[in-house]
Subunit: 278 residues, 2 copies
């Protein structure tokens, strides 16, 4: 892991950028050879605007097909007198219609998009009961053929809350911890009849929300009792891939940061946690 | 105008089909050479399923880029023992993801998708005030750079209600009447902050909703007083094309039919109206 640069180099200014994307036609956030990625396109646009090759640090590396309404990144750009208030407008002219900049501001001191973040918030949308999904909703809603009970989903999901090892719900990645603090995992049915899961944690490991949603659905449809999901968590053995829900239903909706004076402390805490011997 | 066939020929069964589409990648409903149209794709799918070349009659011929959540068509298919309850499922397997069948039922006697209809309902969605449209909403919401006042929109729009000549708000088409009965044209702001216009009439002429929306916006943003819109209606001179809103914000949401015993009477009424000397 590269040591994070806490503050920009001399002659550079750190920008905090809030952006949204439709993940449908991206191979995820992270740059990959010969793939269309959000990182590649956003860094190209910024580099073009500031006329300097620019790398970004992202709060939540979303997987292929996952969407975002408020992803956060930071970039360090040369202080060449460009007016920051025009950055969003200018970047949107360079970017394809499936990425949009919501806002660009100068980052406060010690702001680090990834390591200062205290929470990542996601939603997952499902249309259940075998109902026909309206075509315009097909990009960010998953479907399920059986009806789901909100109460059963919530009883199963509430058992997951807290500081826990989510090995059963994370795709294995060498060197990554699977210990996270899940602070919200709650379901409701919206006005249009869609099931919405709100999922909040300090951080998520790879594919974690889609695994948790898939396991909760097993309980929500009555296939397993809620104790099954608690047992899976306890066992720390990865659940079957067949339970995992598709990425298209998943959207990163918010990244939370502490007050400015706590940004530095938060970075130390994040890095300390990751080094801890779990 | 072809005389409508009131009932299917002997050996044929009339189906009422409720379907939805994302109009983004279609050159509208109506078949055109070398263009991708909803009519072409739906008739091909039905013809393939029933193994007989099938024409459809549609309730509302939507323009290029316009969407539908509940469009209604009828088709007469040979009685060859196919089970109607499986039609929707089978057709959806043939169709691209941007057209979906909601339901297929046997039509009641004297049902005609176009001439029995009493109302067409549309919604038009706008994000105003220069706000950044989230990428996943880009397919069915139009944007406007100035803020709009719901009350002003409603005051302007309410003046349009009734049995009137909408020549000022219809693109001219040889031989078409521009007289319609508008029964609802009402605006509200939804939970997400989008402006929604609900527009209901017995029928609409070409581009009418998009013209009406554009004119109402002129009042909603404070450029003109509401009397301006009433004057436009009165003048019967087509408003400037520059006011017309884009098709992507428009969705056909419902087509209303009378009770079964009134279907035949409604057809006579519709055809009588169109022949009347306005």
């Amino acid at each position: 892991m590269t040591e994070p640069t806490l503050n920009p180099e001399s002659g550079f200014c750190r920008l905090k950028i809030d952006l949204a994307y439709d993940g449908t036609n991206f191979a995820g956030w992270a740059k990959q050879p010969d793939q269309r990625t959000v990182q590649e396109e956003i860094e190209s646009a910024i580099s073009r605007l500031v006329r300097n090759k620019t790398d970004s640090i992202v709060a939540g590396r979303t997987d292929a097909g996952v969407h975002a309404t408020h992803q956060i990144i930071h970039v360090d750009v040369p202080e060449i007198g460009l007016e920051i208030e025009n950055f969003g407008y200018l970047l949107n002219r360079f970017l394809a219609a499936d990425i949009r900049i919501n806002s660009v501001v100068e980052a406060p001191p010690n702001f680090h998009a990834r390591f200062s973040a205290v929470n990542r918030q996601y939603i997952y949308k499902i249309l259940d009961g075998g109902l026909q999904l309206p075509p315009l909703q097909r990009f960010d809603v998953a479907t399920w053929f059986r009806p789901l009970e909100v109460e059963a989903l919530n009883l199963a999901s509430a058992q997951m809350l807290g500081y826990r090892d989510f090995a059963a719900f994370c795709k294995f990645r060498e060197g990554s911890t699977t210990i996270r603090t899940l602070t919200k995992f709650q379901w409701h049915r919206d006005q249009s009849g869609y099931l919405i899961a709100e999922v909040v944690a300090d951080a998520f490991c790879y594919s974690m929300v889609r695994n948790l949603v898939g396991a909760a659905v097993c309980v929500g449809e009555g296939r397993y009792p809620k104790e099954w999901m608690a047992q899976m968590l306890e066992n720390k053995v990865r659940i079957s891939d067949s339970y995992v829900f598709p990425s298209r239903g998943l959207t990163l909706t918010s990244v939370d940061y502490p007050p400015n004076e706590e940004l530095l402390g938060r970075i130390s805490l994040t890095l300390g946690k990751r080094d801890a011997d779990f």
